[in-house]
Amino acid sequence: MGSIPFLPPSASSVSGEVDAFYFFMVAVTAFFSLLVFGLVVFMAVKYRRKSDQDQPRAILGSVPLEIVWTAIPFLIGMVMFGWSAKIFFTIMTPPEDAIEMYATGKQWMWKIQHRNGKREINELHVPVGQAIKLKMTSEDVIHSFFVPAFRTKMDVLPGRYTTTWFRPTKVGKYHLFCTEYCGTKHSGMIGWVYVMQPEDYQKWLQGDSGEGTLAQRGEKLFNELGCANCHRTDGKGRGPSLVGVAGEMVELERGAKVLADEEYLRESILNPQAKLVAGYQGIMPVFQGLVSEDQLLQLIEYLKSIGKTQKAPAAKPAAPASRTAATAATVQGKGL
């Protein structure tokens, strides 16, 4: 208990403009509300019924007035529409320099994977000033990733990747909420976003990352699951070589083309027959139910590391551990 707050903390590159728009909306709507309330109260008193015999003259209407109070709300609405649409596109479009991280929603927790292999649950550590792009998916029902201090929110869907991004501007600790009702412990699917100084973030990132980068884990899986047997790098396997595929256009049967993005790669692992690459037999087994969402992200991360214009192939685990993961991530992030 304490005093009543009116605004959540403002800690991202978009939160200022969202707040400005909010104030604009509050001002405009308060003006019209007070105008209507004032008129109603004024007329309720001024023209109150004085005797039961009162019979006021009829006033049928006024075309000019109708036009005025149709046009004004419409025009004001269009200003709101335009400004808010502009903000929406800003909130939804990740900038070029964004580094990627992965989030998986699961009843009732958030699992975060950093590209260097660091994993956390219900916590997300990010450096201040750096744009972060989160690729998200769900293992079960629909969740929604909401950080009020950043004014961003995006639903997290099973069977699909969605993206949200933010550039934190203030060091601190901020609420992370699930905002799509997801069952019994929905209100327990909460966590904290820690915005840190870049140096602190680097220190945090280096601590205890254990089993190698995401791409390295993906490569290990790629071999364990037997993918490498057919998807040989020399192109002579029963499946197409996957070197340089991620982020490239892929030719399907009957001449159709599809961009090999995360969505396509995911589908081709889980249900390979859906969009078969031209010239190959549909002999790959279905991996639906055999790999978890986390593992899928690792596999995709590996494929991206050997994908189009890859600069730091994860196939060379010799990449010095001291190298700042953020820089590596930035370079790789640009790869796709």
């Binding site: 003259r57 009829a58 049928l60 609405g77 709101m80 529409f81 800003t90 909130i91 869907l157």
Partner: protein, 545 residues
């Protein structure tokens, strides 16, 4: 409406006294009796939904989830939504006041299909019993929105039984809508042209269009969920090859227009109250009439504004956002016209008018806060927070229920033949207004702060506002208990009502006694003047600014 001699015979039996047997009520085809049957049913549903709301506010008094287990809390808010929306708000005004008044207002003996009207009440009862039995067996926890794949695959509660109840009750609203449309087209009294109809009838006509065009879609959607849940046919669950977002499109294609099913009849009531209580024709009558239809039509094309962050295409979002701003315009027009009607009127401080004033205030806030949510860039932040909860309660409780109560008071003498105790009624109208604002205004602030909906427990910094909200809910609950008491009391001890206690215009007041006889009118009325012809013809003026 020709002037009629004020000596309406009193001794003849009315629709209430014509037959006292239980059978005569349960097998009645009289639209007035069916209206009363509906009134009793929805009042019980409102009581139930209200108690559930009280339990929600009780839990949210403190940040920790200390009153209910999370699974029970989830069932409580789900049942609150299901009961209030499908079994109270959707039938509230149309099935009670609409049923009772439309034939009276248009000079007809009954609705076009009296037996279908009775059937619709029985269907409503079956739906209600199914849903309530699901609640008695252990409840359902999907939220009233039944989002997949949670509802189709993951929830272990009585989803199908609840959904079946909703599915069945949908047919009652389809039949009511059908009945109204045919009645309004075919059974208007001689001389009662479309632009002489009371705006209440226009509002119900627009509502009926949505009922018959929208409700089948939600029925189909529920059927698909049932097929997925029962037979594992994949429509919505990606694990079965379905698309989880498809459900949201189908659901909101009905459920957003359903919001207009709930508010359009309220707007119709509002027009009647304002006209009768100010003794003036509603300002810009034609514009108000057409705007109801405009809301119904555009309202079908805005469903995607529930889905800006659902992964829906950004450009689809753009169109939905634009149309949502567009649908706000006819609502704004109505508010301005109601306000303008008060100008140089004879505005009575009677209970129905107090509700009408309350409606203008609360609906204005409810409508304007809808703009915040239509604005894509802001909705990203506000979506699924308490701001949304506050917004739709301002429209649904502040709008629809205020109109329902205002209308109930206004037509109570006609329906029951008794007057209620006015001072107490005024007091409770004020109490409800204050309690309502105290309950829901803090929730706008909570929403912007980021408190998500459907949270059983919440961070401590949100507590002060939640305490205010719970305090308001207490006042509101007491406010609602007043009418329940004095209206029932008036049935036995109330002063006998004359045919037209408000000196209002309209066939139901001028040509039928209170309460009306079974077939409403002795002779088919003839109409020679427009609606709300309070002032003599020569005293009419058109404002030119």
């Amino acid at each position: 409406m020709s002037t009629v001699s004020s000596t309406i015979p009193e001794a003849k039996p009315n629709y209430l006294t014509s037959d006292f047997s239980i059978k005569s009520w349960l097998l009645t085809t009289d639209h007035k009796r069916i209206g009363i049957l509906y009134l009793i049913s929805i009042s019980l549903m409102f009581l139930l939904g209200g108690i559930l709301a009280g339990l929600i506010r009780l839990e949210l008094l403190t940040p920790t989830g200390d009153v209910f287990q999370p699974e029970n809390y989830n069932k409580i808010f789900t049942m609150h939504g299901v009961v209030m929306i499908f079994f109270f708000l959707i039938p509230s005004i149309p099935a009670t006041l609409g049923n009772f008044l439309i034939p009276l207002m248009i000079g007809a003996r009954d609705l076009a299909f009296p037996r279908i009207n009775l059937l619709s009440w029985y269907i409503y009862l079956v739906g209600g019993v199914l849903t309530l039995s699901a609640m008695a067996l252990g409840g359902v926890d999907t939220g009233w929105t039944f989002y997949t794949p949670y509802s189709s695959t993951y929830s272990n509660t009585y989803v199908m039984l609840t959904a079946l109840g909703v599915f069945v009750s949908g047919f009652s609203s389809i039949l009511t809508g059908l009945n109204f449309i045919v009645t309004i087209h075919r059974m208007r009294a001689p001389g009662l042209t479309w632009f002489r109809l009371p705006l209440f009838v226009w509002g119900h006509y627009a509502t009926s269009l949505i009922m018959i065009l929208g409700t089948p879609v939600v029925a189909v959607t529920i059927l698909l969920v049932a097929l997925e849940r029962g037979l594992r046919i994949g429509f919505f669950d990606p694990a079965l090859g379905g698309d989880p977002v498809l459900f949201q499109h189908l659901f909101w294609f009905y459920s957003h227009p359903a919001v207009y099913i709930m508010i359009l009849p309220g707007m119709g009531v509002q027009s009647e109250l304002i006209a009768a209580m100010s003794r003036k024709k509603v300002f810009g009558y034609e514009v108000v009439a057409i705007s109801s239809v405009a809301i119904a039509v555009i309202g079908f094309l805005v469903w995607g504004h529930h889905m800006f962050v659902s992964s829906q295409s950004w450009y689809a979002g753009l169109v939905f956002s634009f149309l949502s701003f567009l649908v706000a315009v006819p609502s704004a027009i109505k508010v301005f016209n109601w306000t303008a009607t008060l100008y140089r009127g004879s505005n009575a401080f009677l209970t129905p008018m107090l509700y009408a004033y309350g409606f203008i205030g609360l609906f204005t806030i409810g409508g304007l806060t809808g703009l915040f949510l239509s604005a894509m860039g802001l909705d990203v932040h506000m979506h699924d927070t308490y701001f949304v909860v506050a917004h739709f309660h301002y429209v649904m409780v502040g709008g629809a229920i205020m109109a329902f109560l205002g209308g109930l008071h206004f037509w109570w003498p006609k329906m029951t033949g008794r007057m209620y105790y006015e001072p107490l009624a005024r007091l409770s109208a004020v109490l409800i207004f204050v309690g309502f604002n105290l309950t829901f205004f803090p929730q706008f602030i909570l929403g912007y702060l980021g408190m998500p909906r459907r949270y059983h427990a919440y961070p401590e910094e949100f507590q002060v506002l939640n305490v205010l909200s719970t305090a308001g809910a207490t006042v509101l609950a007491i406010g609602y208990l007043f009418p329940a008491t004095y209206l029932l009391y008036s049935l036995f001890k109330g002063e006998k009502a004359p045919a037209n206690p408000w000196n209002a215009k309209g066939l139901e007041w001028e040509q039928a006694p209170s309460p009306p006889p079974t077939f409403n009118f002795d002779h088919t009325p003839e109409v020679h003047e427009p609606a709300y012809a309070y002032a003599p013809e020569k005293e009419k003026e058109v404002v030119h600014s």
